[in-house]
C-alpha cells in the first residue's frame, strides 16, 4: 500500500535539551503551544503514549517505538475520537532534533500506510500551527495563537 507522508521542519533558537523537554515532559508548557492539549508518557522506548484534550479526553494514543533523548522520538500514533480517522489505523510520527549553529532543527515526519489519508490531511492542518506557536513561545516567551481557528473555521 502507498504511504502518505508529511514533513514539517523549522529552526528554533533554543537548545536540544529545552526543545526535548518542551515536546515531552513539560505538560504545562505543552498546553501553551498545543492549544490546551498535552501528552502523557514515560518517554522511554516501549512506554505507552497518549494525547489528552483540555477536558481530559484521550484524543490519540499509542506507544513510544524509539526514544533517544534529546535527539529522536518515534511514536506509534492511533487516533481515537473521530471514527473515520480512527478507522485508518495507526500512523508513525518521527520527531528529530539536531543542532545547527545557534538553532535546533526540528523535523517532524508523519506517515501512514495508505494513500490518500484523511488522518494525515487532518494533522497537516494542525502541525504547522503547533510548530509555529512552539517556535514563537521558545524564542520570545509568547505564543502567537491561543486559538487555532480564530475565525471559527
Amino acid at each position: 500500500m502507498a504511504k502518505s507522508t508529511f514533513v514539517y521542519v523549522t529552526y528554533i533558537r533554543t537548545t536540544q535539551e529545552r526543545l526535548w523537554r518542551a515536546l515531552t515532559e513539560d505538560a504545562e508548557f505543552m498546553k501553551q503551544y498545543w492549544f490546551g492539549v498535552h501528552c502523557q508518557s514515560e518517554w522511554k522506548t516501549g512506554s505507552p503514549w497518549k494525547m489528552l484534550g483540555s477536558d481530559g479526553t484521550v484524543l490519540d494514543d499509542g506507544e513510544i517505538i524509539a526514544a533517544d533523548p534529546p535527539r529522536k522520538l518515534v511514536i506509534r500514533w492511533q487516533h481515537r475520537t473521530r471514527p473515520e480517522l480512527a478507522a485508518e489505523g495507526p500512523s508513525l510520527c518521527t520527531i528529530e532534533l539536531e543542532t545547527f549553529d545557534k538553532s535546533v532543527k526540528l523535523a517532524i515526519t508523519h506517515t501512514i500506510e495508505r494513500e490518500p489519508s484523511k488522518f494525515i490531511d487532518a494533522v497537516s492542518g494542525g502541525w504547522p500551527k503547533i510548530i509555529s506557536n512552539l517556535k514563537s513561545l521558545l524564542e520570545s516567551g509568547e505564543s502567537v495563537m491561543e486559538n487555532p481557528y480564530p475565525h471559527g473555521k
Binding site: 514539517y8 521542519v9 523549522t10 538553532s103 504547522p128 510548530i131 509555529s132 517556535k135 514563537s136 495563537m145
Partner: protein, 110 residues
C-alpha cells in the same frame, strides 16, 4: 540564522513564479523526485535543481532520502510563520473595524 535573514530567504524564494509553481506541484503531489518535477516544467534539469536549492535554503522544501532517491516535500511551517507574522496581525484591526461598523449601524437602526 537571524529572523531577518530567514525572512529574506523566504520572500526571495516566493518572489519567483517558477518556484511558486514548484510549490504548487508539491502541494498537489508531495514527495516528488527531481525527474518527476522536471516532467511538469518547461525548463532544464539544472534550472529546476537551482530553484529547488533556493526553496530548500528558505526551508520551504524539505528533502527526504529514500535509498538513493531524493524526495522533495513541501514544508508548510514557514508559510504558517508568514501568516502569523504578516497576515493575522493586519487582518485583526480590519475585522475589528467591520465589527465596530456593524455594531454602530445596528444601533442607529434601533
Amino acid at each position: 540564522m537571524t529572523d531577518q535573514h530567514e525572512s529574506d530567504l523566504l520572500f526571495k524564494a516566493l518572489a519567483d513564479p517558477t518556484r511558486r509553481t514548484l510549490l504548487d506541484l508539491l502541494h498537489v503531489n508531495d514527495g516528488q523526485t527531481l525527474n518527476q518535477l522536471c516532467e511538469n516544467l518547461d525548463m532544464t534539469r539544472q534550472g529546476v535543481t537551482q530553484h529547488l536549492a533556493v526553496l530548500e535554503q528558505a526551508n520551504l522544501v524539505a528533502p527526504l532520502w529514500r535509498g538513493r532517491e531524493k524526495l522533495h516535500f513541501l514544508n508548510p511551517v514557514p508559510l504558517q510563520e508568514i501568516y502569523d507574522r504578516w497576515i493575522a496581525k493586519f487582518e485583526k484591526p480590519r475585522l475589528k473595524a467591520i465589527s465596530d461598523l456593524k455594531k454602530k449601524l445596528e444601533k442607529d437602526n434601533g
